[in-house]
């Protein structure tokens, strides 16, 4: 595997991490609202 391929994979994983992290953030906001009701 070349470093360019590895960089593409790493950036893809970075994108996945960003989306999942933001999703968990939204879930946290949802929990906060539901439980405080």
């Amino acid at each position: 595997m070349s470093w360019v391929e590895a960089l593409k994979i790493a950036l893809g994983i970075y994108g996945v991490t960003f989306v999942v992290a933001m999703f968990v953030g939204v879930v946290v906001i949802g929990i906060r609202k539901v439980i405080s009701m």
């Binding site: 590895a6 953030g25 946290v28």
Partner: protein, 404 residues
Amino acid sequence: MLDQLVGLFPGIHTFFLVPGVMAFGRIFLILLGGFLLYLGYKEILDPLLMVPMGFAMCMVNAGMLVLPGAGGVGTLFLSPLTSHVKALMDALQVYFLQPIYTFTFTNGLIACLVFMGIGVITDVDFLIARPMLSFFLAVMAEMGTILTLPIAVAFGFPFKEAAAIASVGGADGPIVLYTSLMLAKRLFVPITVVAYVYLSVAYAIYPYIIKMMIPKPLRGITMEEQELPVISPAQKFAFAVVAGVVLCLLFPVAAPLIASFFFGVGVKETAALKRFQEFLNDVVLSGSTVFLGFTLGALLSVDTIFSKSVFFVMLLGMIALILSAVGGLAGGLLVTYFSKRQVNPLVGIAAVSCIPTTAKVAQKCAMEVEPEAMILPHCIGPSVAGVITTAIICSCYISYGLLH
């Protein structure tokens, strides 16, 4: 007469049975172990890990003897490369640390026990109060975990080993341990040791990176006046359950670590489980940290450490941690800009995780400029989010590495 003396002190005799480089290597590692002990004893590096690690490192390199069955010079500590069932059964009866290594290291149990203990002492209030900010900074502070992968591949490491080395950038010891055990058993010892030693070193290096990247007036931004919503124990408990289930569902390969961490958080937020909290904090976390440090030290014998690849692991580990700090601070600067200077950019470096070291570094650097500045509470959210994002990236690495 000489033969009798040699028989009486086989530890000294073994210095003459190995090549000169290895003999000097043993002496060097004994001295290095002593140095780690000194740094731990003086609390310059984390004593909880450095003292057991330094002790074992000195002892394992001193206590070598001729092992007839093992075909050369060895120790009675442990045999990390034994995997065949029959050889393993023999090893369990010979090496005194072998049961701990075989039954807690090779399956990642020790990392999970440490994570359970970390969960029970982690405050998730600030993460729940400001989740988007915390997770944004945490993702930015994963730059080292991401960019070190192609750099390590360019250095000639195969994908799995490169990914294990890159995990050092997440600055989370148990996750590094777990990832390297899953992906790079050959390099598990140096990667884990480098991670744990560097996490202590981060305390010394990060202030210089902060001073290079963040202008003085921004370092002194105070955040006291910002009110955070009050988070109830029920909300924190629900967060532990839901976030744990979601992340286990998405990343089952890291489910043991994720489950351990969120179970610890859940126990902390359950008033009826006071005894569990004390047990996990006092017994599980302390016990697993002692054996983690001591066993890692025992793995630092001369035959494991002296190789070219270990030198590169040390170099790449440092690159990973520096890149993560740079990414976190860049994220902090962005947040400061978009919030119109309501957020101190130093909060970004706390997102490198390594609870609570980086948060303390951020607080210290802010107080140097503005003695009244209190940013520590605001650092805890990004710091906890950093643990979660590191777990996500490493589980992606493990999944990809095991599939290809």
